[in-house]
Amino acid sequence: MTSLLYGEVEEELRGAVREVLADKVSPAGVLARVTGAEPYDPGLWKVLARDVGVAGLLVPEELGGAGASAREAAVVLEELGRSVAPVPFFSSAVLATRALSVCDGEVARAVLERLAAGEVTAALVVPWASSPYRALSDISGHARGVVGAEVADILLIPVRDGLAVVDADDPGVTVSPVTSLDLTRRVATVSWSDFSGPVAKCRDIRDVLVFGAGLLASEQLGLAEWCLTSTVSYLKERTQFARPVGSFQALKHRLADLWLEVVGARAAARNAAAHLSASSSFAEISVDARVAVAVAQAHCGAVAVQAAEECIQLHGGIGMTWEHPAHLYLKRAKANEIALGTPADHRDALATLADLPGPA
């Protein structure tokens, strides 16, 4: 029986991450950074990666990692979602790390050791918009919309029988950042002609995307919670018609509905993380875990967008300004909705997983 609550270790980890974020991240700071020359925050990443140890969270202990499970990674993602901190945790410590963990052999293990030490970051070169349920589109030579690539030291490029491990400064590879909808997690186009690098043999990369999709739900949960909390506190303060606007029933009911959605998102995201924890690196992802991931993504992706949209609308004029951080959350939420399968892609998958077939 998997628990849907947070364990003691998870709460300790959350506390440590939250302390660093409270100290080093502010909405104004994030806004200034993402429009500047260095959109990712290397100083913050160094502290999180090495001092808190989040870089090696999912790396096995014998390779210098923490050997933690998806449950712990999920708690970190909740906190990062809450702060939209521009760090490559998801791209490197979740996606790329998971991809290498399901590969065999020394090549993958060597990279995992370096990732765990927080020396380098890696990016999995597949489009962020890939659905885990479709065959990967032919990306030979070119991949559009890759996250984490512009700050990665190592690129993991899917080849016929595994992942090619390529240095980001290999002359055969070009990473071109793209002006992105999501200001705090930009995408880049990666193109390559011929490169050198060993190949780590691995199975179907789509299960890595299933794993990522399940954990993305926790980031979406954290993001939605921030939007709900900020909106509630704003509506308590903001006065119009000589009353706090939060006393108007029309707005209270919207927030009560949003709260219910967020409560559901927490249960669904926890359930996905718990099921993914049970499937160790080399095991197949069980059908139950696939259902849990699809349900979590179908729900949480939409809830995060709803929360961010309500946040903008209920903040009124100020919510529409560049200065207010709400738009950072909306942009992240909308991009996340597309990432690793849209809610509709995940519902489609449930037609098979839950035996609810469509019309002939």
């Binding site: 609550l5 006393s247 559901g264 729900h299 839950a354 469509g358």
Partner: protein, 390 residues
């Protein structure tokens, strides 16, 4: 008193079964079970319990499976609402007199709360109780009263002081449903049947020993009842879920499927699963001794889920959706979602967002008590009840 744990429960159940053959008269068996403290183990000794943790009750029920039972579905209001109210606010004499026949099912209870003019705003109720020596004389009308035609007793809130603001002039009584002046009429619902009643109270005389709590403290007592009502409704589980029924029809009848219905079914299935997980997480929190505010939302979530699933079921069925199993005006003592047709399910589910606190009132409660948003400005809090517009 010794600590009661699982092994102590097993010993007591065995001892009880050794001296009471289940084959004997069922009522005598249930009375003896009450007296042995095996009715509701979390109640105090002498009142059907052992003062044990509530989570030992399933073990008792499991050990006594197959013996005569008190048919809890028939006395839901007694067991779920009247009993906890009596336990918290009743006098020792009241607890001794009422709890045993309530639990055994010998005496059915009903709830005389809602009125034609007091639904969501229950505290504005107009049924009067006027003191006459050692008695109270009750006049007024109650509505949506399930089981009133079967009930021996009713929990009643009535106005004892119209000069006070509405919440302060209410007193809580036990109404003798056999007293002269109590008239019960079935109230037909949109499903065709009469699950509820109207109750007319005309010069009904109740002894002061039937008052629960102090005069004027009825609102406080009623809050205990209402809190238990929402817990009872929110934790109700069907043997099959609404979406489960819908999914079964979907699988068995491929010829009915369309693309649009498929998309809506999948959305609903996801929502049902998220609601199930929310409930599972809530139960885990309760078991870990950290009850969260999530409980206030479960009733609302289930109401929406039932309504959408049963609405979709009627639409999916097309020709059969045009038919209805039975409109005849008859009494029903329980809600039977599974034994009736899809049209009944659709119509009955409309009540889920009205009964026991409307979804709108529950949203207010979430917004104010969970999120801490300010209340709407109100004109009725400090005015005497008699001066309120009605």
């Amino acid at each position: 008193m010794i600590d009661v744990d699982a092994s102590e429960i097993k010993t007591r159940v065995q001892k009880f079964l050794d001296s009471h053959a289940p084959a004997e008269d069922p009522v005598a068996f249930l009375r003896a079970r009450f007296d042995a403290g095996l009715a509701w183990v979390n109640y105090p000794p002498g009142l059907g319990g052992l003062g044990a943790p509530r989570d030992l009750q399933p073990l008792v029920d499991q050990l006594l499976r197959g013996t005569p039972d008190n048919n809890p579905g028939r006395n839901g209001i007694g067991l779920g609402m009247a009993a906890p109210t009596l336990l918290f606010h009743g006098t020792e004499e009241q607890k001794q007199r009422f709890l045993r026949p309530l639990w055994t099912g010998e005496e059915i209870w009903c709830q005389l709360f809602s009125e034609p003019g007091a639904g969501s705003d229950l505290a504005s109720l107009a049924t009067r109780a006027v003191r006459d020596g050692n008695e109270w004389v009750i006049d007024g009308q109650k509505v949506w009263t399930s089981s009133a035609h079967l009930a021996r007793w009713g929990i009643l809130v009535a106005r004892t002081d119209p000069d006070l603001p509405k919440h302060r002039g209410i007193t809580y009584f036990i109404c003798d449903m056999h007293a002269p002046g109590v008239e019960v009429r079935p109230l037909r619902q949109i499903t065709g049947e009469a699950e509820f009643n109207e109750v007319f109270l005309t010069g009904v005389r109740l002894g002061d020993e039937l008052r629960i709590g102090a005069v004027g403290d009825g609102w406080n007592v009623a809050r205990t009842t209402l809190m238990n009502e929402r817990v009872a409704i929110g934790s109700m589980t069907l043997r099959r879920t609404a979406v489960g029924i819908l999914a079964e029809t979907w699988r068995e009848r491929p010829e009915l499927r369309t693309h649009d219905l498929h998309q809506r079914l999948l959305k609903l299935w996801v929502r049902a699963e998220v609601t199930r997980l929310t409930g599972a997480r809530l139960r885990e929190q309760l078991a870990a001794g950290e009850p969260g505010p999530e409980g206030s939302g479960m009733k609302l979530l289930f109401a929406r889920l039932h309504q959408e699933a049963f609405g979709l079921e009627v639409e999916l069925l097309r020709d059969e959706g045009l038919e209805y199993d039975d409109w005849s005006f008859r009494r029903s003592d329980t809600v039977d979602f599974l034994g009736r047709g899809p049209g009944y399910r659709y119509l009955r589910a409309k009540g889920n967002s009205i009964e026991g606190g409307t979804s709108e009132i529950l949203r207010n409660i979430i917004a104010e008590r969970v999120l801490g948003l300010p209340a709407e400005p109100r004109a009725d809090k400090d005015l005497p009840w008699k001066d309120l517009p009605r």
